[in-house]
């Protein structure tokens, strides 16, 4: 499956794009996505361990299987307020 990943803040800045397309085997987890992101986009690599991943509008842990067609977002720790 192809996962379209939205990027925000420094993650967007480092990747230089607002969205990345990541090809993953069906049944891949958030952890797999994280690893593939780092391999595919070298500029993101230093941030990968601290990236937060959201599937839909909820935070997802590394062991979560990514449902086909989900809206996925990756971003560094938040600093609103």
């Amino acid at each position: 499956m192809t996962v379209s990943v939205r990027l925000f803040a420094r993650a967007r800045e480092l990747a230089g794009v607002e969205r990345l397309q990541v090809d993953l085997p069906a049944g891949s987890t958030v952890g797999d996505l994280r690893q593939t992101l780092g391999e595919q986009t070298a500029t993101l690599r230093p941030l990968v361990p601290q990236l937060l991943v959201a599937v839909g509008t909820d935070y997802a842990t590394d062991d979560m299987v990514i449902p086909e067609g989900s809206e996925v977002a990756c971003f560094p720790p938040v600093s609103g307020g």
Binding site: F8, A9, R10, T57, F75, P76, P77, V78, G80, G81
Partner: protein
């Protein structure tokens, strides 16, 4: 009442919205753009958000506050875009029958907002550099 806006926040209108004859206490919290942070001078801040998720998370916090405290009305407004010194970045207002609950619920909403709502600020330092603020991340 949950809102993301690019316009200046009208704190008086938000306060009026949560006032109620059922409430004896209203607490309003404003986050404002401070000039000095650890000896570094800020010129301006830029706020970005993942808007769909930010609104969903703020609504979740609103629901949780209403579950934990006898909240009569509550509202959260976060501003996005370019903010100058002194501008209001966030406003949280809550009304409760009694003041202890209003303080606790207001504190909960802003504390948790800063932890879970996907909004980020970028510093515009006085030396002309910019820097995304990501707690726990070396820059």
């Amino acid at each position: 009442m949950i809102e993301l806006t690019h316009e200046p926040i009208d704190h008086a209108a938000l306060t009026e919205r949560v006032r109620s004859t059922q409430a004896g206490a209203v607490v309003l919290f404003l986050g404002t753009v401070r000039e000095m942070t650890n000896g570094q001078q800020t010129i301006a801040l830029d706020y970005d958000a993942y808007p769909e998720m930010a609104v969903a998370k703020m609504e979740e916090l609103h629901t949780r506050a209403c579950d934990k405290w006898p909240v009569i009305e509550a509202g959260i407004i976060h501003r996005l875009g370019h903010l100058e010194l002194g501008d209001i970045s966030v406003a949280v207002a809550v009304s409760c029958p009694h003041r202890v609950d209003a303080f606790e619920a207001g504190r909960f909403l802003i504390d948790r907002l800063k932890e879970v709502v996907p909004i980020w600020k970028q510093e515009n330092w006085a030396d002309g550099s910019t820097e995304w603020v990501h707690p726990g991340v070396e820059t």
